[in-house]
């Protein structure tokens, strides 16, 4: 009886929430914007966009698993790549245009750039989950 009551309290997220989650990942800030959360969209999306382009301007590089990476080397690339991938279409756009993948270790801000790029993607994952939770009614 108790189990049955508890089952009723677990609500499945509606399809719209999933769509908004994907939109939030693809274009930073869009998930909140489509829900009319202008301030959140501006803050969350703005931070991700600013961090991403600051990272590129600093000479940071994006990670990807290429054909040259074999075995353990490929696995080592996977983790930072998944962080970069969080930036959504920003990352995919760079991948398609082959922008930002060259190492520029001679630049003094290179490590800052890498950190900004990695964290931009990770923060967008947080923003994506926030947009999903709001759309699913789990958060105000």
């Amino acid at each position: 009886m108790v189990t049955r009551e508890m089952d009723h309290t677990v609500e499945k997220a509606p399809g719209r929430a999933w769509m908004l989650g994907v939109a939030a990942w693809a274009v930073p800030g869009l998930g909140h914007l489509l829900q009319g959360k202008w301030a959140r969209a501006l803050l969350l999306g703005g931070v991700v966009w600013v961090m991403f382009f600051t990272g590129l301007a600093f000479g940071g590089h994006l990670f990807r698993v290429s054909g040259n990476d074999q075995g353990f080397s490929a696995i080592l690339q996977l983790l930072p790549m998944s962080a970069n991938f969080g930036a959504g279409l920003l990352y995919i756009g760079c991948w398609l245009t082959n922008t930002g993948f060259a190492e520029q270790a001679q630049r003094i801000t290179y490590e800052y750039g890498n950190t900004f790029l990695l964290v931009a993607g990770l923060l967008n994952y947080l923003a994506m989950l926030d947009a999903f939770d709001i759309a699913a009614g789990r958060k105000q």
């Binding site: 959140r40 803050l43 969350l44 931070v47 991700v48 600013v50 961090m51 600051t54 600093f58 801000t109 800052y112 950190t115 900004f116 964290v119 923060l123 947080l126 923003a127 989950l129 926030d130 958060k139």
Partner: protein, 57 residues
């Protein structure tokens, strides 16, 4: 000095996101964001001083 500037920019941007996605009232989230920002800076300075005394060169 420029390193401190960029570290502060990084801390402030990250703190904004942490503050916005946190739960609670606006005031609670603002305080949380400020705390995150301060923690980033304090920990960075502590680590910086620890590394300063290590013979890494």
């Amino acid at each position: 000095m420029r390193h401190v500037l960029w570290m502060t920019v990084f801390a402030s941007l990250t703190a904004v996101v942490f503050g916005v996605v946190a739960k609670g009232s606006d005031r609670q989230r603002l305080i949380y964001g400020i705390k995150v920002f301060a923690e980033f800076l304090v920990i960075a300075f502590i680590l910086g001083w620890i590394l300063y005394f290590l013979p890494l060169h």
